[in-house]
């Protein structure tokens, strides 16, 4: 291959798209041509830097095992409801949400001493969920922190998020909050209900899922 042919093929070479025969020919040429090797290195540097651009918050630790364990402890005699659902539906989604929370907290923490101050939602939680188990309350706090962190991330994106979209999102979050309030009210009447505990966490999860999607896709 000539230098020109090799440089024409470099895109596919660094992408791993060449046939075996072409790949070997390019390799052979690069072994003997310093100028083309330099071109190849530049291509790879370009791709590496582009690939390093943050498109998503990277995964952090999975909080689900802790949460599930706390819920198991809380629901004691009645057991955890629908473990199959927990295994199938929740871990991945919750892990992703938790990862976002951890990463966002880490990022926000570096900027100042008060990373997130979800005073209002936390206060509501504490009073509204009085009577529920400490484990469930702690789970609610986790969700409140996650929600607050995602809302903070959303606020930082306000320049690219249209007011209409934000209004639709807020309206739906309110629907979810209303549902959460209903479930909490029911839990006050029946604090030991594992079904209600599950409804509470799964409804929280829907809120996180929606927020995560908006935050992530808003970066397109």
């Amino acid at each position: 291959m000539t230098c020109e042919q090799v440089r024409d093929a470099l895109d596919d070479y660094v992408d791993g798209l060449l046939t075996e025969a072409d790949f070997q020919e390019v390799e052979l040429h690069l072994a003997t041509c310093a100028e083309c090797r330099r071109e190849e290195r530049l291509q790879r540097a370009l791709l590496a830097q582009a690939a390093a651009l943050p498109r998503e918050v990277p995964p952090g630790r999975d909080l689900w095992p802790e949460l599930a364990a706390r819920l198991r402890g809380a629901e004691g005699a009645r057991g955890v409801v629908r473990p199959s659902v927990a295994r199938w539906v929740r871990p991945a989604a919750l892990a992703a949400a938790a990862a976002v929370v951890v990463a966002l907290f880490a990022g926000l923490w570096k900027r100042g001493p008060s990373p997130v101050a979800p005073a209002s939602p936390m206060g509501t939680l504490v009073s509204a969920a009085a009577g529920t188990s400490p484990a469930l309350l702690e789970a609610e706090r986790e969700y409140a922190r996650a929600t607050a962190a995602l809302m903070a991330a959303l606020d930082q994106q306000k320049n690219t998020l249209s007011p209409e979209t934000r209004a639709v999102l807020d309206a739906n979050l309110k629907t979810i909050d209303d549902a959460l309030a209903e479930v909490r009210a029911a839990l006050q009447k029946d604090p030991g209900s594992a079904q209600l505990a599950h409804l509470l966490t799964s409804t929280h999860q829907k809120k996180l899922d929606a927020l995560q999607r908006v935050v992530r896709l808003n970066r397109l």
Partner: protein
């Protein structure tokens, strides 16, 4: 977007090096710069060779994306880039193709309409923010996500994942693994079988399908209806907060049922009436088996009514 472009500019500067390079940019550079520039709407008509089961990634921040499967080994993009688009990133070949609208300002204000023809067995990954997405005649896999917009998938895709926030999701076809979600919109699944996960917050959720081995369907306030058969050993889980639930199952279904509602009603066509559980709460619970049991059916609501129907 601005930081992204800034970093990309730095990347390009880095790639150019201190002594400059040939005038002809590489494909990767072209992709980052965009193939065209300017503030006016531009027509697009381009194609690239692709393998029969290529991974095709499509990104259009706003407007519409229409994907159609065809029996050619190439990807063709037609349509119009909105005013403010800096170009179309149409790169890759063979096993991986990328189609993306490039913008230099807030991408959500750049409304583009893309029609993309892909090999019928393609694996699609489609993302938008304020755009609708439709996919038809693709038998590979479909993953589609948007925030403001509806998603429609028809045809024989074997796996479908479709998620939106504000818009409806409609899937009809023979998917064996289906995951559909909306927040503010209806979700409709027709003809699917195998594994299903479907949810919405306040829209209506409707499933009418074949035989499921695992199905999880849930809403917050929207009504939920499920009509389908279950394999032996299948799991069907339905959950709402205030939405009503209607399950229509074959009269001969062999399943173990567990139904509960905190303050809703339970109407059971398979036999036993629901019993109130607590002396101080209105909670009702119902557990029974049909056909000797086998599949597991669980339904839980807070205040939504539950109806079990024979079909």
């Amino acid at each position: 977007m601005i930081p992204t472009l800034t970093v990309l500019s730095l990347c390009l500067a880095l790639a150019a090096g201190p002594h400059g390079r040939s005038a002809r940019p590489s494909r990767h550079e072209e992709a980052w710069r965009g193939l065209t520039t300017g503030g006016e709407a531009q027509k697009v008509d381009a194609r690239r060779a692709a393998s029969a089961d290529a991974l095709v990634e499509i990104e259009n921040p706003a407007g519409s994306i229409r994907v159609v499967g065809w029996d050619r080994s190439e990807v063709m993009v037609t349509g119009q880039l909105g005013a403010g688009a800096s170009g179309l990133d149409f790169t890759g070949s063979g096993g991986r193709i990328r189609v993306g609208v490039e913008t230099e300002r807030n991408p959500h204000g750049v409304v583009s309409s893309l029609e993309v023809h892909v090999p019928v067995r393609s694996r699609l990954q489609i993302e938008s923010f304020a755009g609708s997405i439709s996919v038809s005649e693709v038998s590979g896999t479909v993953k589609a996500e948007t925030v403001n917009g509806s998603i429609t998938v028809t045809g024989q895709a074997r796996e479908i994942q479709a998620e939106t926030v504000n818009g409806s999701v409609e899937v009809s076809g023979a998917s064996k693994d289906t995951h559909v979600e909306s927040v503010n919109g209806s979700v409709t699944v027709r003809g699917a079988s195998g594994e299903l996960q479907a949810s919405t917050v306040n829209g209506r959720l409707e499933v009418s399908g074949g035989t499921f081995s695992r199905a999880h369907v849930e809403t917050v306030s929207g009504s939920l209806s499920f009509e389908g058969a279950l394999t032996s050993g299948a799991t069907l889980e339905a959950e709402t907060v205030s939405g009503s639930v209607v399950l229509s199952l074959p009269a001969s279904v062999a399943a173990d049922f567990s139904v509960s509602t905190f303050s809703g009603s339970i109407d059971n066509a398979f036999g036993a009436p629901a019993m109130r559980q607590g002396r101080h709460t209105p909670e009702k619970e119902l557990q029974f088996s049909t056909g000797g049991g086998g599949a597991s059916v669980s339904v839980h609501t807070l205040s939504g009514s539950v109806t079990l129907r024979k079909r």
